[in-house]
């Protein structure tokens, strides 16, 4: 049993990760908190965005300077893209920086919900996979679409629990469980997670990992919340491996009735409980 628990890595495109937590780096109150939260999370994959530099400043204000020398895998995202072409362009810019070839495809189809555009996401995934990228598309929680993304070359598929930054948790656990069940690549639940409880729930549904940013960065104490997520993800994973009990309508006692102090003696007057 120890073997099953202690050697249970997440493998994405042949890369072995001991943490199932993918860590978003946005909106932290300070670089120091960001660094300590990452430390507390145990995450080995970090996400960030590609943006124009601020020409008014000569200081290096890139987020990456805070991770120099750390053994992390970089997962740049294509946020800001509205079409497959824009996402491919951003992915190539990120790769040109020499940060590896992982890319989170994120193509918003609507600025209010930030929900992913399924058609463009599929197109971008296909093109980037052909171009040699390790593609992790952020997608809606549609089981058929998730399968199509896998077939298009995604190395992991990342359905959302609920819209980005809402903290609404898992709005469609049925779909997420189905997606996880039928997938042959890792399923990472990305977006909408509100707290450690949602992360644990997602893992218990069979997800292979969690990508979270806002619930850590905007928690009252991001460092403690990062640790809470680490534990919740681990707990959820263990529960999944252990196998939960089936749900029943009525109670079933934890101890047999037999031997109860109030059980009528054998052969005596049967005035006790059934």
């Amino acid at each position: 049993m120890e073997e099953k628990v202690s050697r249970d890595p997440l493998v994405i495109a042949g890369h072995t990760l001991s943490s199932r937590f993918l860590f978003g780096t946005g909106r932290f109150p300070s670089p120091a908190v960001l660094q300590q939260a990452l430390e507390a999370s145990g995450a080995e994959v970090i996400t960030f965005a590609v943006r124009r530099v601020n020409l008014e400043s000569v200081e290096d204000d890139s987020v990456l300077q805070h991770f120099e020398g750390k053994p992390v895998t970089y997962l740049p995202n294509t946020s800001g893209a509205r079409t497959a072409e824009e996402a491919v362009r951003i992915a190539r810019l990120a790769r040109a920086a020499g940060l590896g070839n992982w890319i989170k495809v994120e193509i918003s189809g609507d600025s209010r919900s930030l929900l992913p555009d399924p058609i463009e996401t599929l197109r971008a995934t296909e093109e980037l996979a052909k171009d040699g990228f390790i593609v992790l598309p952020y997608t809606s929680d549609d089981p058929i679409l998730c399968k199509r993304l896998e077939e298009a070359g995604a190395s992991a598929v990342m359905p959302g629990g609920s819209p980005i930054g809402t903290g609404l948790g898992l709005l469609n656990p049925y779909n997420l469980a189905l997606i996880a069940e039928q997938a042959s690549v890792p399923i990472i639940i990305d977006a909408g997670i509100g707290s450690a409880k949602d992360a644990a729930e997602a893992m218990e549904l069979g997800a292979d990992g969690i990508l979270a940013n806002t619930p850590i960065a905007k928690a009252q104490d991001p460092i403690i919340m990062a640790r809470a997520f680490r534990l919740a993800i681990e707990a959820g994973r263990l529960a999944w491996l252990a196998g939960r009990i089936p749900r029943k309508k009525y109670a079933s006692a934890s101890s047999d009735w037999a031997g109860s102090l109030f059980e009528a003696a054998a052969g005596a007057d049967s005035g006790g409980k059934p």
Binding site: G24, V50, R52, V53, S62, A212
Partner: protein, 280 residues
């Protein structure tokens, strides 16, 4: 000499006798004037006051003949005695206000600066121009850390009085200094230490003029910019962005860092400078 004419200079020459053993200061400076030097400073940190005075008198006469302004490093008294056009101060010398009191309102006061704070203070205190440097390490001022072209860029953005980039500038690196935003440069050893100071001045002037002519308009991160940068690398330096981990896209095509120096810019180019920010 009126201030307006004085402001036109682009090539500033400073004496450095130790750079030309066997040739007199006056002969070497005359060569630079023949080559087109537009302002001359007498800098003599080792000689006695009498020696400085003698050189100042000779150079005053020479610069009058060539109709260029003549500045003396330190010695406001010699400025007055020889009717030089101004004084150049270091950060450790007398305050600008004191020099102004000694020299009156019409003579030039220049001061060496090594960071933007000093530059803005000099401007506030009434300096007529500032030196910005040393841009590169130089034997003329050993032990002084180079300020690099990023200070030139800062000066170009924030300093409104004339500024002269100085320090280790040669024909080999002058384009980078111009690209960083300098309009005026001063070279000491590369000019007076040259076997042909006149030809060296002409070469510098050609580079200064080429820089001025090649002004082009590019769109950088969606904003229209006028630049004299010849290459992508020069544009990055001019924008003061060289210390960032950047990715560059020129007209939709990524330019690998190794190719920045050889990728030429032309008017109408669209360039994106991107980097990485926090995100999920």
């Amino acid at each position: 000499m009126g201030r307006e004419a004085w402001n036109d200079f682009r090539l500033y020459v400073i004496t450095a006798e130790s750079n030309h053993p066997g040739k007199s200061v006056v002969d070497v400076i005359e060569q630079t004037l023949i080559g087109g030097a537009q302002i001359v400073q007498l800098r003599n940190k080792t000689g006695s006051r009498d020696e400085v005075l003698e050189q100042a008198k000779a150079l005053r006469e020479l610069t009058r003949k060539y109709k260029v302004p003549f500045i003396i490093n330190d010695y406001p008294d010699i400025v007055l005695e020889t009717d030089a056009d101004g004084v150049h101060l270091g950060q450790e010398d007398m305050p600008i206000a004191e020099a102004r009191r000694l020299l009156g309102p019409y003579r030039m006061i220049g001061i060496s600066t090594h960071n933007l704070q000093q530059a803005l203070a000099a401007e506030r205190d009434g300096a007529d121009y500032i030196g910005v440097g040393p841009v590169f390490p130089t034997d003329t001022k050993p032990g002084r850390a180079a300020v690099t072209t990023s200070y030139v860029t800062e000066a170009a953005r924030h300093v409104t009085i004339p500024f002269v980039a100085i320090g280790g500038i040669t024909l080999g690196n002058v384009d980078l200094v111009l690209a960083a935003g300098a309009n005026r440069i001063c070279s000491v050893s590369a000019i007076v230490g040259s076997h042909d100071p006149a030809a060296m001045c002409r070469s510098f002037l050609r580079r200064l003029e080429a820089g001025a002519e090649e002004s082009k308009t590019v769109v950088m991160n969606g904003r229209e910019e006028h630049t004299r940068a010849r290459t992508v690398e020069q544009l990055v330096i001019q924008a003061g962005q060289q210390n960032k981990k950047l990715v560059i896209e020129l007209n939709g095509i990524i330019v690998q860092r190794a190719l920045w120096a050889e990728t030429e810019l032309k008017s109408g180019d669209s360039i994106e400078l991107v980097h990485f920010v926090g995100g999920g």
